[in-house]
Amino acid sequence: MTSCTVVALALRPHLAATNLAMVYLLGVVIVALLCSSRTSVLVSFLSVAAFDFFCVPPYLTFQVADYEYLVTFGVMLVVALIISTQTARIRRQAQEAVGRQVRTEALYNLSRRLTEQSEDADVARIAEKCAEETFGGAFAIVPKENRKTDPDSHRSPPDQPLVQWVFDHGEKAGHGTERFAEAPALYVPLTGASEMVGVMSVLPPHGEFLNSEQMQFLEVFANQTALAIERIGSQRAAELAQLQVQAEKMRSSLLSAVSHDLRTPLASITGAASTLRLQGDRLEPGTRNELLDSIADESERLSRLVSNLLDMTRLEAGPELRRDLYPIEEIVGTALHRVERQLEHRKVTTQMPETLPMVYADDVLLGQVFLNLLENAIKYSPEGTPIEVSAEATDNAITLEVRDRGSGIAPGEEREIFERFHRGKLNDARGVGLGLAICRAIVEAHQGTIAAYNRAGGGAVFRICLPSQEMR
């Protein structure tokens, strides 16, 4: 204003008064560009007043000699007002465009990062982070499944009754709304396409209210997040259904395989026992002993079968490993001890260097692997042939082998034998075909691998590789 007046006074001797008005209009344009619309309107009025005071004779008074100047004042005021409001609008629009771009980017960023996620918790975490980057303040998402707030969350725990209220009513509540306006945070329902999937709590920066634009944007944001959470929910439901189908298939193949294997020994036991009860006195002592032996043997077989089935079921469900550091010698030694009786007069050699590192394993389960491999070696190789067990450490793995001199593995069957209910082709085995499947499940639960090979000179090698663990 002052500079306009100075310029106008300097030019007064040279220009017509109406032209001096232009200097003031220029000033109004500049003010409108730089300041708020209210300021520029005020400046418009002041310009007209100053023009009158300084540039219209008689000078330094608001009196006007020539009444034509009233027209000049009127036009000048209208033009100044139009300039200031228009300029302010253009500026606001530009600001909005920038704001829109920022928000679009934020939304794009959010949806891109959300689509990469496959866990509810990750979606919540990412949405919280994105929201904080966009709006400032602190955000927390309470998913529907755990309406109770996560006590480990580093974020300020949302107000439980309010979260519950939003879950019940599906409406916003808290800070800046009509409901519970006294609460420090705002609670926004996360509503997807079909249902509400959670509640987002917003602790506004410095306790300020969000303006209506931010509020609108927040709702879009909440909607995006809700859709992402919903998508993961339906994905999981589909996976679960898939799993159930698989479990159903597994159950039926299990039933068909098992019913035969369970019935056979049961039939022998029932037969032998009833024979003994009915004709016990009349039987030769030798026959009686045979029947008794068969009851004992078949019971043992049945018991082994049931154990295997239970183990397999437990492993299918995702085994709970109780891992610790064990000398591999101890695990092998225990398994050898358990087959001691079946070994009879076989020669068993063990090669275990004293320098072997300890393995980080579940001793019971890994022992089971050796037990199964040793029992197989005994079952599928001729009596009196040797069995070898060895362990060797390389830089990042421990390799364990069980070797026999039996009939080996049929070509092309090296992988299949580890499948459930698969029986080796080269043997008229009387098992269910679970032993090796159990071995594989256990080894894989330890992040290891198991494979079978034929040996030079006849027989089979079962090789287990376990990643070696540093001593913690």
Binding site: S299, S303, S307, L310, D311, R322, D324, L325, Y326, P327, E329, E330, I331, V332, G333, T334, L336, H337, V348, T350, M352, E354, M358, D363, V364, G367, V389
Partner: protein, 227 residues
């Protein structure tokens, strides 16, 4: 006098089999079908040994061990299903002497009963020396010989071997061994124990990968087998 054995088991078939086996071996038996009855009979009849099933209808079998151990050190033998290592360890830590996994054979059962009854006879604990396989331990002189040759054991190795031999035949849990050898502050250091057992095996066993004496019960503990 024939030893009295208290059977605490609710399954009638198992009881029938136990009755037949025990009386054929000349033991006298008494039956309890519930934990509550088991506790009462253990206190009133003072049996020489208890055969205890952990899955009882009224209370956990562990409760029976707890209550019996309040007043008595009589041997307790657990009958447990396979694969319940946690229960076994809990039972042993509460003071049960041993366990036998179902299904079990008669020979195994009778062997365990004999070991438990022998151990409860007091003089065996104060023996001055013990011999098993090629190994001879002289507790008085603190000397260990293998095939007549004196071998060197570190202090902790000897201590561990001493604890195992003092309870020869009994299954000791990792916790019990750690507590007796290293003290109560090292109960979470089971790896120590395993390393020391491995050392002992290398010094005492003919083939450390096929130990005849220092035996592991996976997931539970160790046992020194002397016969």
């Amino acid at each position: 006098m024939n030893p009295l054995i208290l059977i605490v088991e609710d399954d009638p078939q198992i009881r029938r089999f136990l009755r037949a086996t025990l009386s054929a071996e000349g033991y006298v038996y008494q039956e309890a079908l519930t934990a509550a009855a088991g506790i009462v009979q253990a206190n009133t009849r003072r049996p020489d040994l208890i055969l205890l099933d952990l899955g009882l209808p009224d209370q956990d079998g562990l409760e029976v061990i707890r209550r019996v151990r309040e007043s008595s050190q009589m041997p307790i033998l657990i009958l447990s299903a396979r694969g319940q290592e946690k229960d076994k360890v809990a039972a042993l830590d509460l003071g049960a002497d041993d366990y036998i996994a179902k299904p079990f054979g008669v020979l195994e059962l009778l062997a365990r009963i004999r070991v438990a009854l022998r151990r409860s006879a007091p003089p065996s604990e104060d023996r001055a020396a013990i011999r098993f396989g090629r190994v001879e331990i002289d507790f008085g002189e603190r000397i260990v010989r293998v095939d007549g040759q004196r071998i060197h054991l570190t202090r902790n190795e000897y201590k561990l071997l001493y604890v195992l031999s003092k309870h020869a035949g009994k299954l000791l849990t990792q916790q019990q061994l750690l507590n007796e050898v290293w003290g109560p502050n090292r109960l979470d250091q089971a790896q120590y124990l395993r390393v020391y057992i491995a050392h002992l095996r290398r010094k005492l066993e003919a083939d450390p990968a096929r130990p005849q004496h220092l035996q592991t019960e996976p997931g539970v503990g160790y046992r020194l087998v002397v016969d």
